[in-house]
Subunit: 433 residues, 2 copies
Amino acid sequence: MNNVKTQLQSAKAGIITDEMRYVAIYEQLEPEFVRDQIARGKMIIPVNINHKHVKPIGIGSACKCKINANIGNSPTSSDLSCEIGKLKLAVKYGADAVMDLSTGNKIDEIRRAIIENSEVPIGTVPMYEAVELVDQVEDLTVDQLFDVIERHAIQGVDFITVHCGLLRKYIPLAAKRTTGIVSRGGALTARWMQKNDHENPLYVYFDRLLEICRAHDMALSLGDGLRPGSLADASDEAQFAELETLGELTMRSREAGVQVMVEGPGHVPFNQIEMNIKRQIELCDGAPFYVLGPLVTDIAAGYDHINSAIGGTMAAYSGASMLCYVTPKEHLGLPNSEDVRAGVIAHKIAAHAADIALGKPGARDRDDTLSRARYALDWEKQFELMLDPDRAKEYFQEARIDDADSTTHDTKRVCSMCGPKFCAMKTSKELDT
Amino acid sequence: MNNVKTQLQSAKAGIITDEMRYVAIYEQLEPEFVRDQIARGKMIIPVNINHKHVKPIGIGSACKCKINANIGNSPTSSDLSCEIGKLKLAVKYGADAVMDLSTGNKIDEIRRAIIENSEVPIGTVPMYEAVELVDQVEDLTVDQLFDVIERHAIQGVDFITVHCGLLRKYIPLAAKRTTGIVSRGGALTARWMQKNDHENPLYVYFDRLLEICRAHDMALSLGDGLRPGSLADASDEAQFAELETLGELTMRSREAGVQVMVEGPGHVPFNQIEMNIKRQIELCDGAPFYVLGPLVTDIAAGYDHINSAIGGTMAAYSGASMLCYVTPKEHLGLPNSEDVRAGVIAHKIAAHAADIALGKPGARDRDDTLSRARYALDWEKQFELMLDPDRAKEYFQEARIDDADSTTHDTKRVCSMCGPKFCAMKTSKELDT
């Protein structure tokens, strides 16, 4: 064993680390408050000691809501430079964390490059690499799985998704469902357990997992292998049974000094989102909740980034700490660069809207500044403050008034929505008051 | 005067019209319940007697949430065929109503063509045409304004937005704001009042307006000229002062037998949306609420359709009856066809998600059927049931697995998200249960 102290161990020992100070400044919180939140497991700073140049972020309900972008190739598409391109794009548009979900034969090489090139924390799902080692998932040995996990830790992965809470006894509960098990890691784990007549190794050998994590301060993201894949399956027995086990594992992680967050659904009707978050907070004692979506309808393929942003706003408003983005390609295929951009911006809107609604420190400043620039018809300043200045400029140019009559400076400054004669803001500013 | 009975007058007289029966079937409600809702002003069916072939829709909190798409040219862009194209596209993707907001010199011609070509109710903002008659809005006479309104009624416009509630005394309240008056109709009305030293003619001569509406059963949509144009201005004195007047005018409309709905904000933080809807319901005695957005942040230009879908879901969930779409071009320029499509789908998701959350009759059936098809990996059926089958197919094809190894039928049927080897649904279905 080495002498590494995790952020959680330092916090418990009363130490305010550099990472905590960094987070405190960004979040406009007191350093001591940050330390206390981490000590109590309400906030995590996922920074693997082997990930050089990573900028610490705080994930927890006291922090601004974070967003994660999934990238990664498949056995049949994309390559290293393409994935690095997606990483840069995701970060440019505001991703706070990135997960590399690569599958196929270049996983190790791609992950190494992504970690090296990333200033934001990187997450992985080790099971995806583990199953590439074998023909069928059931051929995977426990040692093979843990070897992969340890390699991720040594390489500098900041957090890993592991489906430790999917117990054998929960599989029959999922069999009743409309869409069964839709988590890839969850489905593979279930198959492994059945074919090998063995309980989930990540549950049985959870202490071994904790040891690896603690040695590198790699955070755990407890995956929800039984998240609902349709509205019909939302908030069912299978989902909540697993959540209860995740609550138990959350406590064990904290005791072991390992930072932990918990993953959440999935497909959930809008009216059930708040209940889901409250239940997670209760069962997992306020551990940071990291949600995928939730999607509020099943029929929006091609537009699931919007679907997810709707559910994500409600989830964040109800207490979720990080949103995993969903792209327009969800349910259809792997995202390309444009999809990454659309997914990031959609969830940035969701997270930001929730921060404002919750009155997080300084959350609305940028909106207020932009609105003043809008009323002043100061387009350059508006563009600067927008979430995607490139896109906004492109649309503005595309729709601008460019006929023969509009050569005056003034005309150029109004957009084509109202046109120069009836610009509401111009008219409003000319009123006597 | 003629013998026309408006839907409201019929309902009050205990008559169930064909339109009410039509709406009852679509909404899975009892015809007598529909009649009662209309009689009490909680639901409207905006069908102008002069609009041939219009399919009646019910707007009210007992009905499924409706969405409206704004189209219309500007003095400098688009033409008749382009606007008809937008109309067809909006309806194809699910717009329940369409507003023609044309400005410029071909307004009359475009509106006539849109009404003729439309099976969905058509709305307009007569002020936009009226101001085209004069150099400055203050030159507009009261008769000119009412002549335009009457022409719209005769042509078959099903509902009109009129800013009747913006009283002179409210203008100073808006002067304190970050973004003043951002409603074009509102700003023009304010200027007219100041320059002419006269109260709002649509308020002063409200009975004249009611007479025109009653003669053709053209519904009123009471515009919110003082809707907030930024989060900073949300829920302020100006907004709620006008809303109170709109409540008063709602009662007068109902008494006169004229169907009426009320328009709402605007830019509103997520946490204030429910309060806004409840207040409207109280002040306007449950009149159908027709909201624009609301937008939950000011910084999302280029993606305001997503921004608006987030606020719209919350608004509909809280009781709003119709969502006015916002397109990706909002704040930047007039929408093109692709923008219309994106705007419609985004708000269809919002309205549908709210219907599901509120348990509206049959609202989730399509989701459940699609989810069963999803688990069966039946792509054709999935596409059929999606909100935008064309886009979904396009994305699926773009991302599908087409390498040399994937020529088997089975491989073709999984998408590139998990790939053939680790498709979660396939794995899940193969579990022993």
